[in-house]
Amino acid sequence: MSERWVLAALGVLALGALAVPLPIYALYVANLLLMYAVLAIGLDVLLGLAGQFAFAHIAFYGIGVYTAGILGNRLGLPFPLPLLAGAILAAAVAFLIAIPALRLHSIYLALSTYAFAAAAQWVFHSWDSVTGGADGLRLAPTRFFAWHIIDDRDAYPVLLGIAIVTIALRLGLQRSKLGRGMAAMRESEPVALASGIDVRRVKILAFTISGFYGGVAGGMLPLFQSYVHPDSLGLEALVVILTMVVVGGLGSVGGVLIGVVVMGLLPELLRDAAVYRELIYGAILILAVTLMPRGIAGLILRAGK
């Protein structure tokens, strides 16, 4: 089975959900998965495609959420302006941190970007006048001129559209010259440099694109949720997305999407075993990296994509 079948299957299911009256709870879960899909694919651009071990992704997501939320609340801007604004701002921030990050490698890059994400969470928590601070921010329903997106049923087609666009862009990126440059850089920076790739430029672009995706995912939240709290924008959330990417398969779009579905549905399956949740989660992480080094993608997809 190759990636193409996986994407086709997921596509059929997702589009099928449009045609059939599903229970609204299922649509809520689907909306969450769509948002996580964009978020995870964005992280994978940096981590899986470009091989940069950077942990700042949750900060880009937060910037996307608050920007879209504030523009929607205070200025009443219609969709898709708040989302695009959030994505552009997140990309800009990613661009700015990419420049100093050029000098850092592996664990130092990981630590500094993690510190950035933690500092960003502190800003979300402390900047009362803008983000609502520790009280959280209520998100007004998204408008598209006269039409309001009120519940999960309204939101699903919009979120699905956004997800399809971003996945298509990512697939395009993978095949493009830039994408191949990122892959080469991931395999070996000195060799990439020697074969004429402008590693600095590729790295900066990888960060910026990843930040853009994070901001888009953040802008998706106000479409189906009415509240955001800074506590959900920290290390725990980052680990959730990281797990989706790693369990699914670094660098593989189909794999990451499977990882999103599996890890995203896990809380539903573990509902009855509530007290064992953390324990099971830790065990899954350990089992995934020891038994499935290339993720689920490595297991079920053909070796050569």
């Binding site: 664990i107 130092y108 630590l111 830790g282």
Partner: protein, 297 residues
């Protein structure tokens, strides 16, 4: 003025706590290239093991301490044998750093989830301090005997580790293994066994840290978040420089308290992150790291 003196003194104590935990992280990184995001939860687990033996079984303190250290020895060795060994054997060297980090994050969840199941987590807990008696006064500055004990033990451990890596055969062998694992195998160093030993020692060191600091910072199942402060201390000092870690710890503790006094208490939370970013930006090798040689991954 008394305010600043007390802030500095208390900062040195807290800094020693960060440094003690950081030492466990650093010797692991120095020997195996692994970064242990569960470093703080290791400390936490040791504390709760000791608590269980002390309060749950009613056994004497020295037995509780022994159980904690031995227990963490076993957990560390076991984790290496069952998890790390498998990851290291996998082909893609690039992925192995990510895999190692994920594995330690998994360990963190596993430890926290297990401890929460065993009770004693309803209330904030503590362990008996090793150094008791009336507090000491240096002028207007108040220091508990446990505080002085923590700083003292940290310095002793630091000296022992420094000597170990610099002068003993085992220590030098570990450094060689870390620098070039393949060459180490070729010259007959039993890499697998030594790595397991390092994990056991690092976790055992975390247990000692836990026994010392629990009376000071108190026990909750989430106390492991202190690991990020230990990372900050290590980064300031230069990640592989053992004496640097201590200095880094002291500096971080003092900076936190001074920020708290002169800026605001709310700003203390973000100070370590600003410090990490600033140091890595301006001088990535830390204060004492020498040339920034990054591991070839």
């Amino acid at each position: 003025m008394g305010l600043v003196a007390q802030a500095v003194a208390s900062g040195i104590v807290t800094g020693a706590i960060y440094a003690l935990i950081a030492l466990s992280l650093v010797i692991l990184y120095k020997s195996t290239g692994a970064v242990n995001f569960a470093g703080g939860d290791v400390v936490m687990t040791a504390c709760y093991i000791a608590l269980l033996v002390l309060v749950g079984f009613g056994l004497p303190y020295w037995l509780a301490a022994l159980a904690a250290i031995a227990g963490l020895f076993v957990i560390g060795a076991g984790f290496d044998r069952l998890v790390i060994a498998r990851i290291v054997r996998q082909r893609h060297a690039h992925n192995s750093l990510v895999a190692l980090v994920i594995a330690t994050i998994g360990l963190s969840d596993l430890l926290k989830g297990s401890v929460r199941l065993f009770g004693y987590t309803d209330n904030v807990q503590t362990l008996p301090p090793q150094f008791t008696g009336p507090p000491l006064f240096l002028g207007n500055v108040i220091l508990l005997r446990q505080d002085v004990g923590i700083v003292g033990v940290t310095c002793v451990v630091m000296l022992l580790l420094y000597a170990f890596f610099r002068f003993t055969r085992l220590g030098k062998g570990l450094r060689a293994t870390a620098d070039n694992p393949r060459a180490a195998v070729l010259i007959g160093i039993p890499v697998q066994r030594m790595r397991m030993l390092v994990w056991a020692i690092a976790c055992g060191l975390g247990a000692i840290a836990g026994l010392l600091v629990a009376p000071k910072i108190l026990m909750t199942p989430d106390m492991g978040v202190i690991v990020i402060l230990a990372f900050a201390a290590a980064v300031i000092g230069g990640f592989t420089n053992i004496p640097g870690v201590i200095v880094g710890g002291f500096m971080l503790g003092i900076i936190e308290n001074l920020v708290g006094i002169f800026i605001s208490t709310a700003a203390i939370a973000v100070a370590p992150f600003i410090v990490i970013m600033a140091v890595l930006l301006l001088r990535p090798q830390g204060l004492f790291g020498g040339n920034p040689t990054f591991r070839k991954v």
